[in-house]
Amino acid sequence: MTENRTQADATPIVRLRAVSKVYGTYTAIASLDLDILNGEFITFLGPSGSGKTTTLMMLAGFEAPTSGSIEMDGQRIERLPAHKRNIGVVFQNYALFPHMTVRENLSFPLKVRGVARDEITRRVGAALEQVHLGAMGDRRPIQLSGGQQQRVALARAIIFKPKLIVLDEPLGALDKNLREHLQTELKALHRDLGTTMVFVTHDQSEALMLSDRVAVFNKGRIEQIGSPSELYRAPATPFVASFIGENNMLDGEIVGREAGDVVVRFAGGATLRAPSQDWCQTAARVSFNLRPESLRLATDAAKPGCQRVSARVLDTVYLGDQNRVVLEADGIGRLMLKADAENGRALAPGDVVQVEMTVASGRVLTRANNET
């Protein structure tokens, strides 16, 4: 396993127990249990309205849970006002004080805490260096670019050495290049500081890149929580499978077992095999998932542990480093395949190809609970 895990150890710094948040008749958070581990970088990932931001706001103290408890370092904090929680917050729109210079913005949390003046000067200087804004101290936020403003916001959230830093889609407003640059910086910063960070985003690639663990939110609940590779390789629900990475999702039914595998038959009549799981029962309706990159265009003899289907090319999309090939697989349905550019270019709509995949790359997911 190639995990991003940094200094995280197993002791939780924050525990959420049966936390719910109800607005009138709308349930934003149903009943949430979550442990945030000391030193980890955990991301709340989900579409808008999934409850990820609400959870973050309850952590930071801007919203009170309707019921349930939040503990930090063993202390109940769910009724503690935000200014007494000692949690650093980075906001989506930076929330820098426009009437203060960068230096004054950074001094603010230290002044409030009664830190001595020369100590403030020293720490502000160090923080400015840390986020590569050494020369910008006397500017006002308005005179900085978006990326620079977000760096100041980050520095302001870490300068008072909080035990927990929460970040609410902090890179959402930035363009792609800058975003990737700041992601790298943020990751390095987390490695240097070792502070627990909770990051909210709707961007799955950002979540995979940054996090030790990702909690996937949907409809006010956590669908799955795990390392990026766990989520990618072994999604627990169709929602997670479709939200993280690209996936071919095919409806089928378990019709039998062979060794440790299940055989799934599709509406078109064809069958494919995938590793069995605890819950798998014959006649269960399942979603059969295949990652596009696990499909190959077969050119030689079948390998052991592989299965093949014959398919007709519907369309190819050129993406530079790769080609997307959209196929209609006989008796199965529509499949999307990533071919390297050389391989895919030769294909034209109407061509018939053999598609190969390992049995291990297939994943069956129950449709009983999570499909509406």
Binding site: A60, G61, F62, P81, A82, H83, K84, R85, N86, I87, G88, V89, F91, N93, A95, L96, F97, P98, H99, F108, P109, V112, R113, I142, R156, A157, F160
Partner: protein, 265 residues
Amino acid sequence: MDSQYLWRLAIKICGALVLFFLIAPILAIIPLSFNSSSILSYPLEGFSTEWYAKLFVDDRWWNAIRNSLIVAAATVAIATPLGTFAAVGLSKVTFRGKPLVVAALMSPMIVPTIITAVGIYFMFSKLGLANSLTGLVLAHVALAVPFVVITVSASVAQLDPVLLRAASSLGAGAVTSFRVVTLPLILPGVISGAIFAFTTSFDEVVVAVLLTGPEQRTLPRELLSGTRENLDPSVMAIATLLVLFSTALLLVFNAIQNRSRKLRD
């Protein structure tokens, strides 16, 4: 020339006429204050600063100026914080009767002043506040608060509530947050409100007529009796000084507006 040019010319002329209409009566008094004749009419007879000189030795005017400044300053000192707190407080909450509370706060501005003034007169007479500067200040505060509420509310509406969350996340309690974040950012509105409060009090005449005896006469009150009883050009001299003073206030007000706009963009 094309028709577009003529249009523009017509618009400019109309604009100039409107401005002339607005400003001519004010400008007309200035030459009269320097007229050597004691009769208030054109054409002028000759240049004289006699009326200004007379003004400076007349206790009646000095007393009125002093009263006006005391009352206006006290009105500003009371109405500005009251209106500011009201505006900030109202921005933070929503409750059932909020429109009623807002209407009550605004009523002195909407109800004809004479109605408010008569009401205040009857009430203050019972309370022993008639014929006192304290009473006049309290009445002016009631008239001035709506202006402060309006200007401060406009500033508060521009204030990003996330900034207050940020302040709180950084460890600032409600009082610190108000002092260090809210107040500096709404200051242009507060200062505008203070200027409005000052002018509301400084040129208020209706309440002053009802509520002041000879001892508490304010400048507008004295000007009113000056024009009615003994119309001499010293009234014009004091009016000219007032015009200069108002112009200065207006310039300050504009400067503040420009400054706050610069901060925001």
